[in-house]
């Protein structure tokens, strides 16, 4: 949608990017996170886990909107999505 002026609270309302943490020891390379991330933040790599699986890695974290779907869809409990709000929790 093309705006005719930039909203005054744009910075405040902008979605903070999330941070993706992947536990390499748990990942079994199923590819669900990479496939179902709506913004293609994750991708499968040729890095190997200690058990020999091709692990998922973050491709472009700036696109992450912290929707959390990768965390839900990972069958290995291997992904954690955090936002700066979590980190700045006083």
């Amino acid at each position: 949608m093309k705006l005719w002026r930039h909203p005054f609270d744009a910075a405040e309302k902008a979605t903070k990017p999330g941070q993706i943490h992947i536990d390499k020891e748990r990942c079994k390379g199923c590819g669900f996170c990479a496939e179902f991330c709506p913004r293609e933040v994750l991708q499968m790599s040729s890095d190997l886990s200690p058990k020999g699986y091709n692990v998922a890695v973050v491709n472009d974290e700036s696109k992450c909107l912290a929707c959390g779907f990768c965390e839900l869809i990972c069958p290995e409990f291997a992904i954690k999505v955090s936002t700066p709000l979590d980190n700045n929790d006083a």
């Binding site: 943490h21 748990r26 390379g29 199923c30 669900f32 179902f36 699986y53 890695v57 869809i73 290995e76």
Partner: protein, 286 residues
């Protein structure tokens, strides 16, 4: 920047026995997704984890009990539901969830399922349905669609499968839902609803089984099954469970099918117990 760090801090970590991870399920298997949804549902539904008991049977899905840091019981094949019944009747304050697979709950355990639904016992049964007996190598199960290939139906399955929502509903379940593991959010919500709702709740969770069932039925990778769910699942709450049949490569109807009120087993038992005590009191007065 933050890739490949430890996943500590996940909300479900405290319900997992970390010393037993990574779990034994195959790459692309959906049981982990179902289990994680269940663990999130515990907090969503505000359940007291001290009063929560998980009972499972034998099979891949049955291993879930071993990964949760709750009172958990890994029982014999098909008998999770009666064991759970005993727990509940022994201590009605417990919140009991049965987490097991299609072969365990529907074949050998089928009789117990229909009776528990009939009694409307206050428990939640999560049936992970991957259409075969995965742990023993992929033999046909009572939910495998007609013509499916399995290790014991090399020419195609010649038995029509159960329609699980129909079976549960017809037996008297007061809450029946079906989701695939792709519907992780809806699944979590459903599980939370089911655990707080009094009465017998049954949730069927369709899951990939890439190494055996999937490999033999054109879904060799977990992703293939997930794509199939993405393309062919249809969310239709309130559908008549009769219509929820699954055919090979056919559409999968998901959603909440049944949500009714019925007196639970304890409601009826309390009534009986009061009658008995009344009688004793009356006799004592004589």
């Amino acid at each position: 920047m933050t890739a490949n760090l430890n996943a500590e801090g996940r909300s479900t970590e405290r319900y997992l026995r970390q010393d037993r991870l990574p779990h034994i399920w195959c790459s692309g298997c959906g049981i982990g997704i179902a289990l994680d949804a269940f663990l999130r549902a515990i907090d969503r539904a505000d359940i007291d984890p001290d009063k929560l008991s998980v009972v499972s049977g034998i099979g891949c899905s049955g291993r879930a009990a071993g990964y949760v840091k709750l009172d958990s019981f890994h029982t014999t094949h098909g008998r999770a539901i009666p064991f759970a019944t005993g727990l509940l009747l022994g201590n009605p304050e417990l919140n009991v969830v049965v987490f097991s697979g299609d072969g365990d709950l529907i074949a050998i355990g089928g009789n117990h399922l229909i009776h528990a639904a009939r009694r409307n016992i206050d428990m939640t049964v999560i049936c992970v349905n991957n259409f075969n007996y995965g742990m023993t190598g992929g033999q046909v199960g009572p939910t495998a669609p007609l013509d499916a290939r399995t290790t014991t139906t090399p020419y195609g399955n010649f038995e029509p499968p159960f329609n699980l929502p129909y079976l549960a509903s017809a037996s008297g379940a007061s809450y029946v839902a079906r989701w695939t593991v792709l519907h992780a959010r809806e699944l979590e919500r459903s599980m939370a609803e089911a655990m707080t709702k009094p009465g017998f709740s049954f949730i069927e969770v369709i899951s990939p089984c890439p190494v055996v069932y999937g490999r033999m039925n054109k879904e060799p990778k977990g992703l293939d099954s997930m794509h199939y769910y993405q393309e062919r699942s249809v969310i239709r709450d309130g559908t008549d469970p009769k219509e929820a049949n699954i055919e090979l490569n056919g559409p999968i109807l998901v959603g909440k099918f049944v949500d009714i009120q019925r007196p639970t087993l304890w409601d009826n038992l309390r009534h009986v117990s009061n009658k008995a005590r009344e009688k004793v009191r009356a006799q004592a007065k004589v």
